[in-house]
C-alpha cells in the first residue's frame, strides 16, 4: 500500500474517532496535545487503525505512537 493512501485513511480514522474535521488533522499533530484525544479515545484510535488496516498493534509499541505521522509509520512498517 502506498504511503499516501495510508496517510489519507489514517486521517479519516482520526477525524471520525476524535470527531474533528479531516482538514484539522495535520501530519505532525500529537493525538493528545494537538487533537485533544483523551485516554478512551486513544484506545479507540488504536482499535480504529487495526480495523481499517486489518493489522494488530502491540500495546507497548502503540504507546510510542503519539502523532499522526507515528501512526502512518507504524502502519506502513507493519506491511513490510
Amino acid at each position: 500500500m502506498e504511503r499516501s493512501e495510508v496517510e489519507s485513511r489514517v486521517n479519516k480514522v482520526v477525524a471520525k474517532v476524535l470527531k474533528i474535521e479531516e482538514s484539522d488533522v495535520s501530519k505532525d499533530a500529537n493525538f493528545i496535545f494537538d487533537l485533544g484525544a483523551d485516554s478512551m479515545q486513544s484506545m479507540e484510535l488504536v482499535a480504529g487503525f487495526e480495523e481499517e488496516f486489518n493489522i494488530e498493534m502491540d500495546e507497548d509499541k502503540a504507546l510510542n505512537v503519539q502523532t499522526v505521522s507515528d501512526a502512518v509509520d507504524f502502519i506502513v512498517g507493519s506491511f513490510k
Binding site: 476524535l18 474533528i20 500529537n30 493528545i32 496535545f33 494537538d34 487533537l35 485533544g36 483523551d38 485516554s39 503519539q66
Partner: protein, 714 residues
Amino acid sequence: MTEKKEIHLRNLEKLFYPDSVAIVGANKVQGTVPHDILKSILKADFNGVVYPVSPKEKFIAGIKTYKYVTDIEDPIDLAIIVFPASVCHMALEQCGQKGIKSAIIISAGFKEVGPHGLAKELQIKAIADKYDMSFIGPNCLGVINTDPRAKINASFARQMPEEGSIGFLSQSGALCTAVLDYAQAKHIGFSKFISFGNKTDISEIDLLYYLKDDPKTKIILMYLEEVSDGQALMKAARDVISESGKPILILKSGRTKEGAAAAASHTGSLAGSDEICDAAFKQAGIIRCSNMEEMFNIAKAFAYQPIPKSNKVAIITNAGGPGVLTTDAAIHDGLELASFSEDTTSILKKNLPKTANIKNPVDVIGDARIDRYNIALSAAFDDPGVAGVFVILTPQSMTDIDLIAREVAKVSSHYDKPVYTSFMGEADVQEGIEVLQRNKIPHYSQPEYMSKAFAAVYNFSLNHYNHVKPAKYADIHPEITSAILNNAVHKNSDYLTEETAQKVLAAYGLPVLDSYVANDAEQAVELAGKAGFPVVMKVLSDEIVHKYDMGGVVINIKDTNEAEKAYNSIIGNVKKLRPDAKIKGVLVRRMIPEGVEVILGVKRDSSFNTVVMFGLGGIFVEIFKDVSFRVAPIDKKTAESMINEIKSSALLKGARGSAIRDIPAIVDSIQRLSQLAVDHPQIKELDINPMIVLEEGNGCFIADAKIMVTLNKS
C-alpha cells in the same frame, strides 16, 4: 540563599496569588481531573481570570477555550497542567515560551511508575530550569489558597476548606482529601493547602521558607513520606521557628528498621532510621506527631488559643472520674495543677454547692448548669496562678450542653489565657461541640488529649531553636586522624585495630589511656609493669570485632603472674575459636578505676548524614537501649540534652546517695566526637563502649573503642 531558591520564592508568590490562571489540558468530561479542577476554581469564586486550554473544545462551562496556551493574548501568572504525563513536557515548553513562571503539574505517571517516568520527570525539570519557571508536582492533588485576596482552589479536592491560619503541606495527594474532609467536619481552617507530590522542582523546603513569611500562616503542618535532605530540612525548620516563631508539626510515615539489621556496631544497630528522624526533628524544634488526630489536636491549640505563660492548669469538670483522668494525664505530660489563691477559693466556696470540690480539679457536680460553669471558669481565669483552663463536661439529663459551650466561648474571650475543652460522649454533646468548634475553642474527644496539646504548645514556647554553634577545639590534630583513616581506606581495612582507634580518638583530645602492644608473654609482663597494675589485656586482630565473645579480653590483672597467664589465655582462646584470625598482638593498658559505664557512638544516615549516640554503656547497652541521638554538629547545650534525655541519667547525677559523676567531661567528649565525625567522612561507624565516667572533677576514660571505615568501593 541559592539563586534557584530565590526564583522559587518569587514564583511561589504568583503561584499562590495569581491574577490569571491557565488550565492546560482542560476538558468537558465530568468526573475527570481536568474538568473537576476547572470546576473547583469556578466554585471557589477565584479572584482572577481563568483561561481553559483545550486542543479540541471551543468552550467549557461557558468559558472560551484556547487551543494552545500561547494563543492567549493576556499574560498568565499560573499554569495548571492536567495533560497526561506523555505530553506534559510539550505543555510546559509552551508555558515557558508564553513567559509563565509558575506551574502546578497535577498529572501522574512520572518517577513513581519507574525509569521511563523518571526520564520524563527529568525532562520537565530541565524545561522549567531553562525558562526560570517553578512548578509544584507532578503527581499531586494541587494547591489551595483560602486568602480572600486569591480564593483559589487549584485542586481536585471535593471542597474548598474554611479560611484559617494553618499551612498544610503533604507529599501524599490522597491523604490531603482525607485531611480536608476531617477538617471540614471540625471547622478547622487553612491558610494554604499544598500537595507537593514528587517535589521535582519545588520541595517541602522551599514551601517551608514561603510559609515562614506568609502573613496568613501561623502554624505549619506537614505529611512526609521520605526525608530527602535531612540537613536542609533541619536548617529550614530552625530558620522558620527562630525567625517567625511558627511551629512546625510533621506526621512522618515509614518507620522502618532497614539498615539497622545489617549494622556491625552497637550504634548502628540502635540507631534505626526512625530513631534518627525522631532525634533530628526534636533537635530542630519540629513537633513530630504519630497520627492525623494528634497533629490536629496540637494544631488547634496553636492556631486558636494564646500560648500559656506557665505549665499550671485549672481543671473544671462536672464528673469526678474524668477530672482524675485529666489530672493523671496532666502530671504525666509535665504540667502542674495550679494552687488556687485565697480569693479564688473563697469565690468558689461561696458560690458553689457544699458538695462541690473547690480545689483543683474543680468538680461543679453532675447537676451543674451554665451558672456553675460560669463561676468556676471566671474564678479560674482570674486567678494569677492559673495559666490555662481545661473544661470537661459529661452529658447528664439536666446539663445545658450548648449553653455551657457558648459560656465557655464567651468567658474565655475576655482573657489572654488558653482554654481547651472535652465534652465527653458522642451524640448528645455534638451540638455543644459544634458551638465550640465554630467559636475556635479547641475541643478534644478524650480529656487527656488536652494536656498533651497544652504540653506541646508550652514546651515549644520554652525552647528557642537557634542554629547550632559547636565548640571549636584548638587542641585537635586532624592531620594525624586523616593520615590513619586514609591509610586504612588505602589498605582496604574495614576496621581500625583498637590501638589505631585509640590514636584517632587521642588526636581529637578524647580521653584515652596510654597503651602498649605485646607480642609474647614475657613482653606482656614487662609492659604490664610499665603501664602500672592493675591492667587489662585485649587481643589485637582486624578480624575480631567483638573481643569479649572470643575470650580475647582479660581485666583486672593484678601482678606479673596473672599477666603471663592472661596473655597465654587470650592467645589460646582466640586461636581455638577463630583459627582464621590474624593476631597482631595483645594490647596492654592500665585498668581504669570503677565508674559509670556509658557509650558514645557515631553512625552515618542517608538523610541526616552524621548521627551521634550517647547512652548507658557496657554489656547491657543493647538490652536496655537507654540511648539518645542527635544529628552532628553538636554544641554544648545539645550534648547536655543528650545526657539528660536518657532514663538512667540519674545514675550520673548522684541518685540514691551515689557519687555525682563528671558530666562536663562527658559533654566535652560528645562535642569532640561530633567534630571528629564531621571532619572525617571516612569514619563509617564508631563505638566508644564503655567510656568510664569517674566522680565529679576526675574526668572519664575510654576503655574500648571500635572504628569502622568507609571503603572506597570503586
